[in-house]
């Protein structure tokens, strides 16, 4: 490697030239700094050179694919940083370490010339280097090189990858990786070869899976497919990978640990595939009483944490519900204690499966009428009946159940408010006032947020006005039969965290699914209402806002989105403040 030496000399020259121009006072400090820098650089280059020599040796002497490819991968990491490369756009990364793509290509070419490494493998790495180089140039916006050499690099990607393909077969790792880099290249370009490149890659991967004993390349391909959003294709390959990975003699505990490992890596697809095999195995061998606790642990792993306010780790509520169904199938409803029922329905509610959630909330109320979650379940059943199913009669029944309780919990207070609101909307102002005044009497200083809401409603009644505009619109859109068309499919609403503590900041965000409008931007208005907490949106143009709550209970967020041509849709979200 000649490059390090050259750079050292250059730096020394620059240093001495600068020193001549500076007064002596600064010279000493600068001299020390430059000497240090030069020494450090020298050490770093020396280390790099030594490492490169060691890796070259490893490449020449490699006895297995694993040794060969790991040496090449390490080599790439020495020459440039792939950590900064993203598959999609975004703000360009700061160039961290030196990106010596051209030097690596020179070095790789020298390996071919000296016949010191398998040519197809080297060709694949030349293609890969140019691929990363193009991405790097784009992301760091080094346009001079991009425009002057972009076409050359593009040609090198396709030509070098093709060279690797031409002299290998589908059992060779170089063949598979060359197909992968070609697909990634065409995918990034979104050109007309993308489809055929993907088909070629999948064919290559399946053949590789049946012909080659190697495992990791298959996972590499699946990982890349997943990162590009090709979930279905990635899953197919993960399945092949898992089938090869899991031999008959692998122990159940080991299997569970592999699945957990993939979960911790953040690869839910792979984790679930291994868990599925694990579950299939233990279903056949474990007795019911031993089996169910394992299943519960898995379900909990993929669930939102219903209690405690922590929602760490990745969630897949659909997968969790599949496991809950398995548990129910094996042990019946009786194996669910009230906490497990609550966890299950909380997850369904968060994945907006309101009808299913309602059924389980009702089951919880029936089976554990004195349970710790019954008031929350009753209130939520009232909300789902009223605002999701437009069934005011059943909704009222549930709210009234709470109102008739002896002690007034946050849920009873919220139920009183809902009953008052429904009466006010229907024009029964006397009844509305009754509910509101009862709430004021019971709430006193304990529920200032609810009291504020009620005072606003009572003022409206006093002034013979309808509920404030946003709220009235939400009630009209959600409760009138003629507005059934607004089925919450075009407006999505999410909050984070779902289980905040008092005064903890919560982010509430909406997204709207509009048809295409090209470059004609539609100005949307966001009509927020309900329990908006301490920091309400300040304008109609706000699709998201941050707030917090001073008192516990279930908070109902309402949203109607309006465009100049009318209402687009509405939605609600529930936040549980501990």
């Amino acid at each position: 490697m000649e490059a390090p030496e050259l750079k050292e000399k250059e730096q020394e020259m620059i240093g001495s030239q600068m020193l001549k121009r500076l007064p002596s006072k600064f010279s000493v400090t600068l001299l020390i700094s430059l000497t240090l820098l030069t020494s450090l650089t020298r050490i770093s280059y020396a280390q790099d050179s030594a490492k490169i020599n060691a890796l070259s040796k490893q490449i020449i002497e490699a006895k297995s694919d694993k040794d060969l490819y790991s040496a090449f991968e390490e080599l790439m990491d020495l020459y440039f940083s792939r950590a900064t490369i993203k598959s999609e756009g975004g703000i360009p990364p700061k160039a961290g370490k030196e990106n010596k793509y051209n030097e690596l290509v020179d070095f790789l070419n020298s390996l071919i010339k000296k016949k010191k490494a398998p040519e197809p493998v080297v060709n694949y790495y030349i293609a890969a280097t140019r691929y990363y180089q193009l991405k790097y140039l784009e992301e760091t916006q080094e346009w001079d090189e991009y425009f002057s050499n972009g076409n050359t690099y593009r040609d090198q990607i396709t030509q070098s990858a093709q060279k690797a393909i031409d002299v290998t077969t589908t059992k060779d790792t170089a063949y598979l990786y060359a197909r992968l880099i070609l697909w990634r290249f065409h995918r990034d370009q979104q050109d007309s070869f993308e489809e055929s490149a993907l088909a070629d890659l999948m064919r290559a991967a399946f053949e590789y899976s049946s012909l080659s004993p190697e495992l990791l390349p298959l996972k590499d391909v699946a990982d890349q497919l997943l990162s590009y959003g090709e979930k279905g294709k990635a899953k197919e390959l993960y399945r092949s990978y898992v089938n090869k990975l899991i031999t008959q003699d692998i122990k159940d505990e080991e299997l569970a640990s592999i699945a957990l490992g993939f979960y911790k890596e953040g690869n839910l697809e792979l984790s679930q595939l291994v868990y599925d095999i694990y579950i299939e195995r233990i279903l056949k061998t474990y007795p019911k009483e031993k089996l169910i606790p394992f299943l519960i642990d898995i379900a909990k792993q993929f669930s939102y944490s219903a209690i405690g306010g922590k929602d760490e780790g990745l969630k897949d509520t659909v997968y969790a519900e599949n496991i809950f169904k398995k548990i129910e199938g094996i042990g019946g409803k009786d194996v669910f204690d009230q906490e497990l029922i609550y966890l299950r329905t909380f997850n369904l509610e968060k994945s907006k499966e309101y009808s299913q959630a309602l059924n389980i909330y009702m089951d919880l109320i029936q089976r554990f009428p004195q349970g710790v979650h019954v008031e929350e379940a009753t209130y939520k059943a009232g909300i789902i009946f009223t605002y999701i199913l437009r069934d005011l009669k059943n909704g009222r029944n549930y709210f009234e159940k709470l109102m008739n309780k002896e002690s007034f919990s946050p849920y009873a207070i919220s139920s009183l408010y809902q009953l008052g609101l429904l009466s006010q909307w229907e024009g029964d102002l006397i009844k509305a006032k009754e509910y509101y005044n009862k709430l004021l009497g019971e709430a006193k200083e304990k529920f200032p947020e609810a009291v504020d809401l009620v005072k606003a409603r009572l003022r409206e009644i006093e002034e013979a006005k309808p509920p404030e505009y946003n709220l009235k619109t939400f009630l009209d859109v959600s409760l009138k039969e003629e507005n059934k068309v607004f089925d919450m499919s075009k407006v999505d609403l999410t909050s984070f965290p779902y289980r905040p503590k008092k005064d903890q900041e919560v982010n509430i965000a909406s997204s709207v699914y509009l048809g295409d409008t090209g470059c004609m931007q539609i100005e949307l208005q966001y009509l927020w209402s309900g329990d908006l907490g301490t920091n309400k949106p300040s304008s109609l143009e706000q699709p998201a806002f941050n707030t917090s709550y001073t008192e516990p209970g279930t908070k109902v967020i309402n949203l109607v989105v309006v465009s100049p041509s009318g209402i687009i849709d509405r939605n609600i979200d529930l936040i549980d403040v501990d």
């Binding site: 999609e88 756009g89 975004g90 703000i91 360009p92 784009e138 916006q141 346009w143 991009y146 425009f147 076409n151 593009r154 040609d155 396709t158 990858a161 093709q162 393909i165 031409d166 070609l182 370009q189 979104q190 050109d191 007309s192 070869f193 993308e194 489809e195 055929s196 490149a197 070629d200 068309v485 509009l514 048809g515 295409d516 409008t517 090209g518 470059c519 004609m520 931007q521 539609i522 465009s563 100049p564 041509s565 009318g566």
Partner: protein, 410 residues
């Protein structure tokens, strides 16, 4: 025997003479093997290397009559265009004075060999809104369109006609919404959208037939925002010759060419696409960013031209949006702002990813789409001085030496 011998020869001669007397249209679309399409102009294949042309000077808005500008901006622009390799301009709609329009078309063609695509808005920007379901409205617009065709069809510089621009979005009900009593009675919003699209595309088909009768020499294009509604056009717009798509998808056009093939098998002209030259995140002009997107877009256009085995083969070329910046666009009702090169964005598009992290993701700067900038303080030939941006040179080089990928072997 002799007589019998002469009869077939006589018939062949009559037939050949007859054939020779039916000349091919001046401009037409040739269907090639594998459903590839090629635009033929005066018997030669023609790739549309075009720009959308609306030369509004600084301080004026869209109502400015540039056609009668004594400094004739098209003469200055035409020269720059010719030097770049532009062979076509797209005009969204002709001006009221036909003599002035003819002058522009002729000058560009005679001086620089640049042809003109002439369009019609089909009343899309009329207030209160277009009424495609209203017979009187339909007749009035039809009259205007046919007047346009009859007035300019014999101009040698005319290339083709484009009907509408992004008018199809109005069928979805969000942009310039319109309706009829029958549509209003329909409770299902999806059916309502289909009913509007059916009315609109049937009307465009009616116009196309009339244009074909009046002018068999130039193809008629359906101006369409994205591919929205093309499935309905496939049912109700069979006479249209090509689709002129308005597409803003960033670096590439994705699967557009194959999608058109699958939904409405007509040749495609990218009649409006491009990128702005202002980074809304870093708040500064970025010519490289624009050049990057445009080079990539043109590469894909070329990959999908006819006779390129690797592509869809149904692309005829494109007219990039746009030739010069238009300084009036951000605040259309405020004449003071027409003198200012506004840097505030009017819309958001995540496909232009370099500056998508701008506040509220508003990254598209409508006043910065020109591949040629206008000088704020310098005049040249009586006009705002033209300063080509990097994209101008990058596209010029690309057109000279298009670098196309070859498919990798199986």
């Amino acid at each position: 025997m002799r007589k019998i011998y002469w009869i077939p020869l006589f018939l062949v001669l009559v037939f050949a003479t007859g054939m020779a007397s039916v000349p091919k249209p001046k401009v037409y679309i040739k269907k090639l093997k594998g459903n590839h399409y090629q635009l033929i102009v005066e018997r030669k294949p023609y790739i549309v290397k075009g720009v959308c042309y609306t030369p509004i000077p600084i301080g004026q808005n869209h109502e400015y009559d540039w056609w009668s500008d004594p400094y004739k901006p098209w003469i200055v622009d035409g020269k720059l265009m010719q030097e770049m390799g532009v062979n076509t301009i797209r005009l969204y709609q002709a001006h009221d004075n036909p003599e002035e329009v003819k002058k522009v078309i002729r000058d560009l063609y005679e001086l620089y060999g640049i042809r003109t695509i002439l369009g019609h808005w089909l009343g899309f920007w009329e207030y209160p809104c277009p009424f495609y379901g209203d017979k009187d409205f339909q007749e009035r617009i039809k009259k205007e369109v046919l007047e346009m065709v009859n007035t300019y069809k014999d101009e040698p510089g005319i290339l083709l006609w484009i009907l509408g621009n992004e008018n199809n979005y109005s069928c979805l009900g969000q942009v310039n919404p319109w309706s009829t009593d029958e549509i209003d009675k329909e409770p299902n919003p999806q059916t309502q959208k289909f009913m509007r699209a059916k009315i609109y595309y049937s009307y465009v088909n009616d116009l196309t037939r009339e244009i074909h009768k009046a002018d068999p020499n130039h193809p008629v294009a359906l101006g369409n925002g994205e591919l929205v509604g093309l499935d309905v056009a496939n049912q109700f717009c069979p006479d249209i010759d090509l689709v002129a798509c308005i597409i803003y998808r960033g670096k590439t056009f994705g699967n557009l060419f194959n999608s058109v093939k699958a939904t409405f098998d007509r040749p495609v002209l990218l009649s409006e696409f491009g990128a702005d030259a202002y980074d809304a995140y870093l708040k500064k002009e970025d010519q490289n960013m624009q050049a990057f997107f445009l080079e990539s877009q043109w590469r894909q256009i070329y990959e999908n031209l006819a006779n390129n085995k690797e592509g869809a083969g149904n692309c005829l070329g494109g007219t990039v949006f746009e030739w010069t910046d238009e300084w009036w666009k951000h605040d259309q009702n405020n004449p003071e702002s027409w003198k200012v090169h506004d840097t505030e964005s009017n819309w958001s598009n995540g496909s232009y990813y370099f500056d998508i992290q701008a506040p509220k993701n508003m990254n598209m700067n409508e006043e910065w789409f020109g591949i040629v900038a206008l000088s704020e303080d310098q005049k040249e030939f009586g006009l705002d001085k033209r300063i080509p941006r990097k994209a101008y040179y990058v596209i010029r080089e690309f057109w000279k030496r298009p670098n196309l990928k070859k498919r990798n072997k199986r």
